[in-house]
């Protein structure tokens, strides 16, 4: 194990924890951001802005309920528009969180420890944003509960062959598991904060949230078991949720939708956009809150590599769509692809999508772009846009299907944008609250990255070290002997 060696005196660019970090400094850096740090101007400004934008969502939904989905630009043939584009986009963004938390945990990728909390929070808010759309895109959202298999006197059940039905289960399961996973992971840190808090109110709140965590070995053992089980539950969800979301398209019979490649291609795309979103969020937050030592360039570099890999999978998906259109010999598939790329009114979006998702991210092959925060931030924004455009392009194939007589076009209205931008406001509103109220980085998991956390660690001539550790990590560090993962 790399941590078996003494921490080098110089800063190692591959290090997962910056130089000079001890249990204490980590606890202080992360914990104080919640407990001691005053509400600063940056956060307040961001929060106020997000709150204002959130009102746009509230207004749109109110108007939607009073007037109807006709306030959007949807029509026949475009039964779906921004509603489903944004649903898929948000769900996709959520995937990185689960991937980082669960899959990387199971795969012993220790670098996940300093970003998983953040990514999980992102997942939850992204899924909440996503969930708004299928609910409110219904013509009669007040009957949304009809999609649930509730026993009733009329013996009416949902129609289990419909992918929308599967969505209900997929998304609600995903949200539930994600929230549980996040909360369970937070318990040791809540206990840490409880112990650090001086204000009795804060102490009480974190006391309740920490569920009586005392850091005993028994606690750690149970915690470990629960966390692994949840990781095991989440892992298939990473694959299944977006697979099922892709079924909304793949199960239909429309040219451009009816494609067997959709599930893997959607999952790759989801992870792609999720990592892009994590980068978009982490890069500024890291510098605002001085977390460079916890989220190091190693993390950033790894995320950029994952982005590059998944991006290539997505590009493979695009190539297969084009190939299958040609290879199938199917008139409608060919016409669809012709319209998508050249003849149709939305061809600009297709080329923009290729630029954003296929061309620009290739810069990440170069270390310079993976290490330069400015460029990486820009690329992450480009990928977010590109992945949104991907869903846009998929939905816009509705404009020209089988019968030329029913071709039409779709233009989002101010209310489509209102719901979209409003949901971004909702997302940032949630994320900013999270940054303020909850340790945004998992304290104890980062501490585990320190050499001191290794049970076989032999501090060079420092007898005090263990004791310091005990003081600094009264909750998470007590069972120093446990193996994480």
């Amino acid at each position: 194990m790399a941590t078996d060696t003494i921490r080098p005196p110089q800063h190692d660019p591959d290090a997962l924890v910056g130089p000079g970090q001890t249990f204490t400094t980590i606890s202080d850096t992360i914990g104080d951001a919640v407990i001691k740090r005053p509400v600063d101007r940056q956060w307040l400004f961001g929060f106020a802005l997000a709150f204002v934008v959130l009102q746009l969502l509230a207004m749109t939904i109110t108007n939607l309920l009073f007037v109807g989905v006709g306030i959007w630009g949807i029509n026949i043939p475009h039964g779906w528009g921004f509603d489903i584009i944004n649903f898929v986009w948000w769900i996709g963004i959520g995937h990185a969180g689960t991937l980082i938390s669960a899959i990387l945990l199971l795969m012993h990728q220790r670098w996940r420890n300093s970003i998983n909390r953040f990514a999980e929070a992102m997942t939850i808010f992204a899924v909440l944003c996503a969930g708004l759309y299928p609910l409110f895109h219904m013509g009669r959202p007040w009957y949304a509960y009809w999609l649930l298999p509730l026993p009733n006197s009329m013996d009416l059940w949902p129609q289990f062959r419909s992918p929308l039905m599967w969505d209900v289960f997929a998304v609600s399961t995903y949200l539930t598991v994600s929230v549980l996973f996040w909360l369970v992971g937070l318990v040791p840190d809540f206990a840490n904060l409880r112990d650090r808090a001086t204000n009795p109110v804060t102490k009480t709140i974190f006391g309740v949230l920490s569920l009586g965590w005392r850091g005993s070995a028994k606690h750690w053992q149970r915690y470990e078991a629960a966390y692994i089980i949840l990781a095991g539950l989440s892992t298939p969800l990473v694959l299944s949720v977006h697979t099922i979301v892709s079924f909304d398209f793949a199960v239909s019979n429309l040219p451009g939708w009816h494609a067997t490649i959709f599930p893997p291609y959607f999952v790759a795309g989801a992870i792609y956009s999720g990592f892009a979103m994590v980068l978009t969020l982490v890069i500024p937050v890291r510098s605002w809150y001085g977390l460079e030592n916890l989220i190091t360039m190693k993390h950033i570099d790894n995320m950029a590599k994952v982005m590059l890999a998944t991006g290539l999978m997505v590009v493979y998906g695009y190539s297969q769509e084009a190939f299958m259109a040609w290879y199938s010999g199917e008139l409608y598939e060919q016409r669809m692809f012709y319209n998508r790329a050249w003849g149709g009114p939305y061809a600009w979006a297709y080329w923009m999508l290729l630029l954003c998702n296929a061309a620009i991210p290739q810069l990440l092959w170069m270390k310079y772009f993976r290490q330069n925060l400015f460029w990486l931030f820009l690329i992450s924004l480009v990928v977010n846009t590109g992945m949104w455009l991907e869903r846009y392009v998929i939905l816009m194939t509705l404009s020209r299907d089988f019968l030329p007589s029913s071709w039409g076009q779709y233009l989002p209205t101010v209310w489509d944008w209102g719901m979209f931008i409003g949901s971004i406001g909702f997302f940032f509103f949630g994320m900013l609250l999270f940054i303020r109220l909850v340790p945004m980085i998992s304290i104890f998991e980062v501490q585990l990255l320190l050499p001191e956390a290794d049970p076989h660690h032999r501090p060079a001539g420092d007898k005090q070290h263990g004791g310091a550790s005990m003081r600094a990590v009264p909750t998470g560090g007590q069972g120093g002997g446990h193996h994480h993962g």
Partner: protein
């Protein structure tokens, strides 16, 4: 413009109106009765759904406040208003035959510009809800046209004027009769300075009343003027010149083997088109059972051939086997050349036809005179005389009519395919008491008219400005207008008298062949109106005499004179029985006009009238006709047969003309091809007459160098549908370009038609016109197979896949051979053999397998079925803005595709082929919509129908996305009219009214199916074939739609629908998707002239 503008609330007037109101009054507050502008404004805002400005889905703050204000104000007013005194009583003794839930049908007749259609009106508990054709009526034969279907909405129109008013102040009928009567008495001796302007009189009773009126002392010197905005004036005058007497021609399409239409839309236009369509299509339609075997000799023998020569492509022209696009002056040149070639004497200017049409002309001449001999592959034997028919169009010049009948005479058609009867419409008044409109205008200008009674019509709008009618009207001292609406004419009149609708009154009407029908009321007048009969009675006799009395008295007199000739024995005995039988049948026995055999006398045909570089054609609009339907939402939103444009009129022109003018067209991004097109406007000027600025529209197949404009738009006072404070007037009044009311063509110079600045937003529901390589429309032609000394005929099917479309990128992928092979497979089996993992859907042994077969060869695209479907199924009107967004609600649409012959493009109007394809729900057996609905809101019934459960629908719209035919319609907003009393009465109670957020679609009129099932079960029998007619099927004069039980799979077909389905011509569209549609199509059988077909090249 509105004389009412500044009137305060006049309580005295209100009280008076209330006192005089009889029957039901549908008023809601004092202000409404007083008709203050403020209240009108408020009403317009309060009841927004039926299609006016509500359409916007981004309600402005301003409108929100207005709405709030209006609602509060209304609430306040409602609080201090007494509830109308309405009594409801249960039936103590239930009237015979009236059962709740079971509709009654009453025979009646509807009149439109002198054209009479016999109808059966469906009535639910005293509310008329739907109009069907009367199968016993010789003109209707069970079908109706678009306008008749929409009359229901006109009757219930909440904008109909409800009060007699004088200068905008509500008054009573007694006042009106007294005060107008006094003015008549003051207008000279015997009403010398009185004029009565009336619409075409087709009611014999009314004609009789006019006669009596003008014989009365009071009106002895008054004059009557007949004015009909859309009337075949040239035809009537010409016929008199040619045949020396007034005659009405009757065409016999059943006897005609070759038909030439000279700009005559005889299958769908005004006149006897329903009767003609029936006869014409009977010769072309595949009969059930035909086409099952290999040969179709019977169909080949029966098949006629249609040539159409016209400028603007008409529904008839789009069905023609050969069509030549010529502008009006060229049409005349064509007839001259044709007449000369056929040997008509004294034809001048016979060489003025462009030489490039020589081939067409020669082939036509051969076809008109000889019959085809397949063995020698040439026209050989001479054709039997009297088996062809030349039909001149009503808007053609007198010379065209004269020459057409000269040709008919030459070909021996007179007395065979063309016969004559006495004209049905005739006002039996002395010539000196009759005036033309021109004379009336002159008299008005000269101040010779003191009192003008305008009975019906809207002459201020309909008379072209150039006639000066509207200006001269101001000189008349007392002007009274009787009409359904307070329109442009009433705005310029002192008195407005509300008329009753045809469904609210007793009257009678004679069809073009003389057959009379009693018009019976289906409901008490909704709006305090009186009929023409009542109004004429009011001026002459006791106003208490009802129109029923008048009509009965007329027919009693007729009965006494004619009862000896009646066939029906019981009618002979007793007038009461005769009356009841006439009412029930909707046809009065023995009223058909006598046949006439006038002698033909060749007139002097004169020389060819000079054409212009551009020729402007004026035609009645397929939706608004002459403008009278401007407030009818169904018709405003009616996608016009060829252009698919709603809510607008445009200048139709050919592709080449549009290119020459530099017309460009862009699609909007909201609805795109499905609703939003921006197109350049053109300035059109007729020198010395006027100028209009109107949107251009490109119609492939339109003759070059001509522009067709339609009447009826640009109404300034027509009610809330046609105009609103925000949107203003809909369309452009092209009357400004017409010199007289009978101007149908105006030749102008090149400089008079120019592109103007600015684009116009057109709500066109199908802007894409190519099939894009898909095999959607198929045609079939006869192919001969030699057999000893004779030939057997079978059909060769051509799919549209190799038909080309215009700019089709995928031709190479679908070589013709492959298409044909597929077509053949599909046509025989109806299925293509593909493995399907879904198990077949079991049909219970007892259940029917309902199916619909649509004969593309019999569809003219006239779209009457679209309105019939709308009326039957309570389909809402959504307004232009919503159509722009691609959200129109028609359950049945007619797709229209263009194709060009191979080597040609759409620039050549003569190479353009127009295909119509009605598209209702395909009722797939394996419906893609059903699988994706998360709540089972769309499911299969036992008999295989794809049902929509509105109550269960949550509105995910997935079903619509997954429907390859895109036949589903979604209530994006609250489109249905929920607030208006009168429109609520109109609805078909058998069909659920859909709410916001719910998907809907064609159900095959499942309410009719279920009603028939109940009936059959009650009588313990099977449902008979043909017992259930869908609304679209019932209305179709061409008989293009057949509905019925397809019977168990694999068994011998029993019903008509099953037999047609089994025919070789039958195919389903997109069957490669394994949807197994129950709606199928019969390839259109074409009968081209062999001389005009180059073999193997008819592709596109």
């Amino acid at each position: 413009m509105n004389s009412r503008k500044d009137l305060p609330l006049d309580l005295a007037a209100v009280q008076q109106t209330l006192d005089q109101a009889t029957g039901k009054t549908y008023w809601r507050s004092l202000e409404e009765l007083a008709n203050t502008p403020a209240f009108e404004e408020m009403l317009h805002r309060e009841f927004p759904e039926n299609a006016t400005e509500w359409a916007g889905d981004e309600p402005s703050r301003r409108r929100f406040l207005t709405l709030m204000g209006a609602s509060l104000a209304l609430a306040g007013l409602a609080g201090c208003t007494k509830t109308p005194n309405e009594k409801i009583l249960p039936y103590v003794i239930q009237p015979e035959g009236i059962l709740p839930t079971r509709p009654q049908f009453y025979a009646s007749a509807l009149t439109l510009a002198g054209q009479v259609t016999g109808v059966l009106v469906e009535s639910h508990m005293g509310r008329p809800t739907k109009i069907e054709g009367n199968p016993d009526h010789p003109v209707s034969l069970g079908a109706t046209d678009t306008f008749a279907q929409a009359e229901i909405l006109t009757m219930y129109d909440p904008d109909r004027e409800a009060a007699v008013s004088h200068l905008g102040v509500p008054r009573g009928w007694d006042d009106a009769f007294n005060e107008i009567g006094a003015a008549v008495d003051a207008a000279g001796d015997g009403g010398e300075r009185v004029r009565i302007l009336t619409e075409t009189v087709v009611s014999p009773t009314l004609a009789d009343q006019f006669k009596n009126l003008l014989e009365s002392k009071r009106f002895a010197k008054a004059k009557v003027v007949v004015h009909e905005p859309v009337h075949a004036t040239a035809e009537a005058a010409t016929l008199k010149a040619v045949f020396s007497e007034d005659v009405t021609p009757v065409y016999h399409f059943d006897k005609a083997e070759v038909v030439v239409s000279l700009d005559s839309d005889f299958l769908c236009g005004p006149g006897a088109s329903l009767k003609y369509a029936n006869a014409f299509s009977a010769r072309r339609r595949l009969k059930p059972g035909e086409g099952l075997g290999k040969t179709v000799d019977a169909l080949h023998r029966r098949m006629n051939r249609l040539y159409a020569v016209e400028a603007m492509i008409s529904p008839t022209g789009s069905l023609a086997d050969h069509r030549l696009a010529l502008k009006p002056s060229e049409v005349e040149a064509f007839v001259r050349a044709l007449a000369a070639k056929l040997g008509v004497a004294n034809v001048k200017d016979a060489d003025k036809l462009d030489k490039k049409h020589e081939k067409f002309l020669d082939a036509l001449v051969q076809d008109l005179t000889k019959t085809w001999d397949e063995a020698s592959h040439s026209f050989k034997e001479s054709r039997k005389a009297g088996t062809t028919l030349i039909v001149p169009g009503p808007y053609q010049s007198a010379a065209v009519h004269q020459l057409a009948h000269a040709i008919n005479d030459k070909l021996g058609n007179l007395g065979q395919t063309v016969t004559f009867v006495e004209p049905a419409e005739k006002l039996p008044i002395k010539p000196e008491q009759s005036q033309t409109v021109e004379q009336l205008v002159a008299d008005m200008k000269a101040g010779k008219v003191d009192v003008l009674l305008i009975l019906g019509g809207n002459p201020v709008y309909a008379m072209p400005k150039a006639t000066g009618f509207a200006d001269a009207l101001g000189k008349v001292k007392l002007r009274a207008h009787a009409g359904l609406f307070a329109d442009e004419t009433s705005a310029q009149c002192h008195w407005h008298l509300p008329l009753t609708h045809a469904l609210e009154q007793w009257s009678d009407a004679r069809a073009f062949d003389g057959t009379a029908t009693i018009v019976q009321p289906l409901i008490n007048p909704l709006y305090n109106g009186k009929s023409y009969h009542d109004i004429l009675t009011g001026f002459t006799a006791d106003p208490a005499v009802s129109s029923l009395d008048v009509v009965r008295a007329y027919w009693k007199k007729w009965y006494d004179a004619n009862k000896a000739g009646l066939q029906d024995a019981r009618s002979k005995e007793d007038f009461e029985l005769f009356w009841k039988k006439s009412l029930r049948d909707g046809v009065i026995e023995g009223t058909a006009s006598k046949a006439k055999t006038p002698g033909y006398k060749a007139p002097d045909f004169g020389g060819l009238a000079a054409g212009g570089e551009f020729e402007i054609l004026f035609r009645p609009d397929p939706a608004l006709f002459d403008g009278r339907y401007a407030n009818n939402g169904w018709l405003q939103e009616f996608p016009k047969p060829l252009t698919k444009i709603t809510w607008d009129n445009v200048a139709h022109m050919s592709v080449a003309t549009a290119k020459a003018l530099g017309i460009t067209q862009t699609l909007g991004r909201r609805g795109g091809e499905h609703g939003e097109t921006y197109i350049d406007k053109v300035d059109i000027e007729v020198p010395g007459v006027g100028k209009v600025n109107v949107a251009a529209w490109v119609v492939p197949g339109h003759a070059d160098g001509s522009v067709t404009l339609t009447l009826g738009y640009g109404r300034t006072r027509a009610g809330r549908v046609s105009m609103s404070p925000e949107r203003g007037v809909i369309g452009v009044d092209v009357g400004d370009l017409r010199k007289t009311a009978s101007t149908w063509t105006a030749p102008v110079g090149k400089a008079n038609v120019v592109r103007a600045g600015g684009k116009h937003l057109v709500a066109c529901v199908q802007a894409h016109h190519s099939v894009e390589g898909s095999d959607l429309v198929r045609e079939a032609t006869f192919e001969a197979e030699a057999h000893d000394d004779h030939f057997h005929w079978h059909l060769k099917i051509h799919g549209s896949g190799h038909h080309a479309g215009h700019g089709n990128a995928h031709d190479a992928e679908h070589p013709p051979e492959k298409q044909e092979a597929e077509a053949a497979t599909s046509a025989t089996s109806g299925r293509i053999p593909l493995d399907n993992i879904l198990p077949p859907i079991p049909t219970p042994p007892q259940a029917q397998r309902w199916g619909l077969v649509i004969n593309l060869g019999a569809c003219t695209g006239c779209s009457a079925c679209v309105i019939a479907c709308q009326a039957e199924n309570n389909i809402p009107v959504v307004g232009k803005d919503q159509v722009n967004k691609g959200r129109e609600m028609h359950w049945l649409r007619i797709d229209r595709y263009y194709a060009a012959e191979k080597g040609q493009d759409l620039d050549n109007p003569n190479a353009v082929e127009t295909h119509h394809q009605p598209l209702p729900c395909q009722q797939c057996e394996k419906a893609p919509c059903e699988q994706v609905c998360p709540v089972s809101a769309t499911v299969h019934s036992d008999d295989g129908l794809n049902d929509m459960v509105y109550n269960r629908c949550v509105g995910t719209r997935y079903c619509s996305n997954n429907c390859p035919y895109k036949v589903r319609r979604f209530n994006f907003l609250a489109y249905q009219e929920w607030a208006d009393d009168s429109l609520r009465l109109m609805r078909n109670p058998e069909v659920t009214v859909r709410t916001r957020g719910v998907m809907e679609k064609c159900t095959y009129c499942v309410q009719r199916v279920r009603a028939a099932e109940v009936e059959a079960r009650r009588e313990a029998r099977e449902i008979r074939d043909g017992e259930v007619l869908t609304a679209c099927q019932a209305v179709c004069a061409m008989g293009a739609i057949t509905f019925g039980d397809l019977g168990p799979q694999g068994q011998t077909p029993k019903t008509d629908a099953a037999k047609l389905r089994a025919s070789k011509l039958n195919y389903t569209i997109l069957d490669e998707l394994n949807t197994f549609p129950r709606t199928s199509y019969l390839a259109a059988v074409r009968n081209p002239n062999p001389l005009l077909v180059s073999h193997g090249e008819k592709k596109g």
